[in-house]
């Protein structure tokens, strides 16, 4: 009950955040975003046709009216039709978000789990060659552009110039085997890059935790390394780790991964969002921005609840 009350309270306090985010982004879309009119007109349009399109897109209505409509759409989760394809925005998101989730989740989960594992090893052997090796690898992962990693992995694992084990492009996923074939290389590329950032961050958190008195006490007590790391260090370092993971989720769910989707020919939400940004498809942008803001608020609530679960000293009041 306490938790439910807290969640409701927190959600209500999150509403100004949603309004702020949507207002600023809608302002940017309307006044600085691409003008969709000029994507939709024919080669030899007349001024009258331009005005007809502007009217249909609602560009000739006051900003306040349009913004209030946006809030109504967000409240009902009905964002109308894409200005580009004419398809219902909800249908587009229903079709693309699961694909992006299925694509990104393995890399996201493994990238974090492996990052934590490597960070534990690096922190435990701090200053040792193993630490330097892991940190060196992390710097490499962070330094190479994601685009280069994608192209290199595609050539190495998928193309005829390399091993050719996996498909270069596509998403013909109908069973588990298909799924593995299509998701492996994008996942490897995601992990390669994510590991660098994750390992460095988690190592810093864990190193800080390892310097605490209770860890020194446990060491002095002769606690085995595994128990020391997992029970005394990792458990107490969970708050920043949870924060990092939780705050990545809205981006993973809604934004997807544009580069991965483009280069591997995967029809996810990242590509749809990118196309909407570059062409000024406002119904899709409004949906993506609005849903991301709502998800952030939900994540904030869940984040606090998780804090409470891993650390009973945290109060939800």
């Amino acid at each position: 009950m306490e938790m439910l009350q807290y969640a409701l309270r927190k959600f209500i306090t999150g509403i100004p955040l949603i309004i702020g985010v949507t207002l600023i982004s809608f302002l940017l879309m309307v006044y600085f975003g691409p003008d969709k009119t000029y994507e939709l007109i024919g080669k030899n349009a007349t001024e009258e046709q331009i005005q007809e399109i502007r009217h249909q897109l609602g560009y000739d209505r006051p900003f306040v009216t349009r913004y209030i409509e946006y809030l109504k759409e967000l409240a009902t989760f009905d964002f109308g039709y894409s200005d580009s394809t004419g398809e219902r925005v909800s249908s587009i998101l229903e079709r693309t978000i699961p694909i992006s989730l299925a694509l990104i989740l393995p890399g996201f989960v493994l990238g974090n789990l492996l990052g934590i594992a490597l960070a534990l090893v690096a922190a435990y052997y701090r200053g040792h060659w193993l630490d330097k090796l892991i940190m060196g690898g992390s710097v490499i992962g962070m330094s190479i552009s994601f685009l280069i990693v994608i192209i290199a992995f595609q050539i190495i694992f998928s193309s005829n110039y390399g091993l050719g084990w996996f498909p270069v492009r596509g998403w013909n996923v109908y069973d588990f085997w298909d799924y593995l074939r299509y998701v492996t290389v994008p996942t490897l590329a995601t992990i390669f890059v994510a590991l660098g950032y994750n390992t460095r961050f988690y190592r810093a958190v864990i190193v800080e935790e390892m310097g605490r008195d209770h860890v020194r006490t446990a060491k002095a007590f002769g606690t085995p390394p595994g128990e020391l790391l997992f029970k005394h260090v990792l458990k107490n370092a969970m708050i920043p780790i949870i924060t990092r993971i939780m705050f990545s989720i809205p981006l993973v769910v809604v934004s997807g991964s544009l580069l991965i989707e483009s280069y591997f020919g995967i029809p996810g939400v990242g590509k749809v969002t990118y196309d909407a940004i570059t062409t000024g498809d406002q119904p899709i942008l409004k949906a993506v921005v609005g849903l991301t803001a709502v998800l952030f608020v939900l994540v904030l609530i869940l984040n606090d609840i998780f804090y409470k679960l891993v650390d009973p000293r945290v109060s939800l009041k």
Binding site: D35, T37, A45, E52, G164, R169, T279, G280
Partner: protein
């Protein structure tokens, strides 16, 4: 298993639950063709099929009255859904077109009882009217605007489909009558475009806005799935049976023999069961997929790999032996060209109330043209494979003059510098020039090259600027609002007739129309109006060439260059691809030697 482990397993399997919801299509034993295109369509509604990409899908799921012969070059029209070529009245104002009976739309829930009904003349009338209904957001109505009698009045009266349009009637179930306000010799070409594809009103009503992603036509294929990366089309089993006559389609053993096309003679299109059209902007990814062997079967060569793949680029394109063994190739000039226009509405460089200044502006434009180095542009950005020609009549149309003076292409900075001096231009009084373009590495590099050339005629560096636009939409808006001083443009021909490029400089087509330069020359306009109603003839060609000279003499554009297209396809595919004029029409004639295993 503990509850905790069960939860963990659920979480790990979540992605699979999300994706493994249905069985895949069983394609074993089917012939599948997997072409790729360098971009994606957004809408599959014929009235919005303005791009090459949309047309590739639209002309395969819908029928048009006419089409282009598969192999014939120069391009030649042929009847498609029409029974024959139109009967045209003596004055060129009335067209009678009979359509084939017993052609049906595909079965779809849009129809009562889900059964596709017969395509009739009324459907064509309805499909054309949609272009003038503001609700349809047509991108193709400019082709017929002001040309069909009564259409503008119909639109003004509220676009009520129950009301007849005087110039567009279904005389009976299978006969269409089009009455024009003035002769329009290119009409039949426009009836071979995706824009004029025939749609059933039931589907438009049933799907509403989403009709754009639920095509219901009578073409050789029907759409199965469509998203941002792929369109899957499957054979329309009810498609009419029309055996292929290669002779009729323009087969030439010397040109097409090596591609194995002879074996499709007498067969009934479509020849493959399934079309998977992949939309791939990323050229390297496209190439990797193409060379993989079991993925896409048709692509172009990324410019980064031209030297790696080609043994020879000019005058004839040749593959290196390793690639020639694995792939078929064809090459040819694009059906269009790139050019750079001056905005004549800008008094700093174009028309000016002060006639003396206007004269000096003319000299300034000509001097800039002398600074322009087409050979260097071709070498730097088009791998020295583009074809440079003087003016706005590109080499792919019959009206092109191979013997025309090439003076307008001359790169002569000294002459440019002299011209500036003779007309009183000094570094101090020269206007600041602004070249517009979509923000990209290529356009920035092109600008830097342009600036380098201008320095050679004495133009101060700080007076040459680049105006970058974030998206094509933004750039197009600035062009349509006549805000850009020097405009980098490209034009893809809608039909193989020079009228299509000459209209780009016709005064009344000025911004926001297609005349981006806002050129408005009385003699040019008069000649355009005279020639636009003429059937192709020697007289018309001479008028077209005269118009080309006027544009060149006015120094209103620096033009032009047609880029070279290179198409590659796998050797197990029997095809002769063409991306623009024939476009997607060729898919129905493609055969694949081996079925899916």
């Amino acid at each position: 298993m503990s509850l905790r482990n069960t939860r963990l397993l659920f979480l790990l399997c979540l992605p699979l639950l999300l994706v493994a919801c249905s069985d895949g299509p069983d394609t074993r034993g089917q012939k599948i063709y997997r072409p790729s295109l360098g971009g994606a369509p957004t809408s599959l509604d014929p009235v919005q099929s303005a791009t090459v990409y949309a047309n590739h899908v639209v002309v395969n799921v819908y029928d048009t009255l006419y089409a282009y012969k598969y192999l014939k070059r120069p391009y030649e029209l042929k009847p498609n859904l029409a029974e024959g070529m139109p009967e045209v009245s003596e004055d060129g104002l009335t067209y009678i077109i009979r359509i084939q009976p017993d052609v049906h739309f595909i079965d779809d829930p849009a129809f009562p009882d889900g059964k596709g009904r017969e395509v009739t003349a009324e459907d064509f009338v309805y499909s054309m009217k949609r272009h003038f209904d503001p609700k349809s957001r047509s991108q193709g109505n400019w082709l017929w605007a002001g040309k069909i009698r009564g259409m503008e009045e119909w639109k003004k009266a509220g676009a009520d489909y129950a009301q007849e349009v005087e110039g567009l009637l279904a005389l009976d179930r299978y006969t269409v009558q089009i009455r024009l306000t003035r002769p329009f010799p290119q009409l039949v070409h426009t009836l071979a475009q995706g824009f004029s594809a025939i749609v059933p009103h039931e589907a438009v009503d049933y799907y509403g806005r989403e009709f754009s992603v639920h095509p219901v036509g009578s073409g050789p294929f029907r759409l199965q799935t469509f998203d941002s990366v792929r369109a899957v089309l499957v054979r329309n089993s009810g498609f009419r049976r029309e055996p292929i006559s290669l002779e009729f389609e323009g087969y030439d053993e010397a040109v097409h023999g090596k591609y194995g096309i002879a074996e499709i003679e007498g067969r009934i299109p479509p020849l493959v069961d399934r079309l998977e059209i992949h939309f791939i902007k990323e050229s390297l990814s496209r190439w990797n997929s193409f060379t993989k062997g079991d993925e896409i079967q048709y692509a172009t060569i990324p410019k980064e790999l031209l030297d790696e793949v080609l043994a020879k680029k000019q005058p004839e394109v040749k593959l290196k032996p390793a690639y020639a063994r694995r792939y078929f190739m064809s090459s040819g000039l694009e059906n269009g060209f790139v050019h750079t226009d001056f905005n004549m509405k800008d008094p700093l460089i174009g028309y000016n109330e002060d006639k003396e200044r206007e004269k000096r502006n003319h000299a300034l434009r000509c001097a800039i043209r002398y600074a322009w180095d087409w050979a260097e542009r071709n070498r730097t950005f088009y791998n020295d494979m583009g074809f440079v020609f003087p003016g706005i009549i590109p080499p792919v149309v019959p009206e092109y003059d191979p013997h025309a003076s090439r003076e307008a292409l001359e790169h002569n900075p000294d002459k440019g510098r002299r011209l500036l001096e003779e007309n009183g231009w000094t570094p101090e009084n020269l206007p600041t020039l602004t070249l517009g373009g979509v923000a990209s590495v290529d356009s920035r590099q092109m600008f830097e090259q342009f600036r380098g050339w201008l320095l050679r005629i004495g133009y101060p560096k700080e007076k040459i600027n680049f105006d970058a636009y974030a998206s094509f939409g933004d750039y197009n808006r600035a062009v349509k609002q006549a805000k850009i001083m020097i405009i980098g443009m490209g034009w893809g021909l809608d039909y193989p007739d020079a009228e299509n490029t000459l209209q780009l400089f016709y005064g009344p087509n000025g911004s926001p129309g297609s005349n981006a330069s806002n050129f408005n020359d009385p003699e040019y306009n008069r000649l355009y109006e005279k020639s636009s109603v003429m059937q192709p003839s020697l007289e018309r060609t001479q008028i077209f060439r005269r118009m080309n000279e006027i544009v060149l003499d006015s120094c209103v554009t620096i033009s032009g260059l047609s880029r070279k297209n290179i198409f590659l396809w796998h050797k197990d595919v029997v095809a002769f691809p063409d991306q623009s004029i024939v476009g997607g029409f060729y898919f129905r004639y493609v055969d694949v030697k081996e079925a899916d295993r």
